[in-house]
Symmetry: C2
Subunit: 93 residues, 2 copies
């Protein structure tokens, strides 16, 4: 099973990142052109998530915004896999 | 602008429906086979939403669940359009 990162490791990975800590998760909010663009983005994220076999929570809201939340439920916290997926998602925009 | 429904009208439309009231919104939660099925469902909902030009909030969570929330933001509450879209989404499953 993946090992949970320490608070220090999490802070180091968040430094200079566009993701922020929210409770036990890391989140990033995106503003797209419109609803169709938001859904297209969700599909690109889904593809990367399936490849990684790690699935963020995805919220499409306010018709053009997408909020992604990452945590490793089986590890009960944040692991390297969360930051790897965050990095891959960053590569999409 | 669309007219807000009265409490009585909302209750009548929710009776026997799979949608429930949550604050000012109506919500429905779906459990799908897996993440890919959840994303496929989101795409079907998005198509219906675009046709109706009315966009629910969509939350994909726990890798196989989708939660839809409907409200008419410009009317500041629930309107006939919300229940029309709810009915169309019901037709997808």
């Amino acid at each position: 099973m993946a090992e949970r990162l320490s608070e220090q490791e999490i802070e180091a990975r968040l430094a200079g990142s566009k993701w922020t800590r929210e409770g036990e998760e890391i989140v990033r909010e995106y503003k797209l052109e419109d609803f169709a663009s938001a859904i297209a983005f969700v599909n690109r994220v889904a593809e990367v998530a399936e490849e990684a076999n790690h699935h963020p929570d995805i919220l499409v809201h306010g018709w053009n915004k997408v909020r992604l939340s990452l945590i490793n439920h089986s590890a009960g916290g944040l692991t390297e896999a969360d930051f790897e997926l965050a990095g891959k998602v960053d590569g999409l925009t």
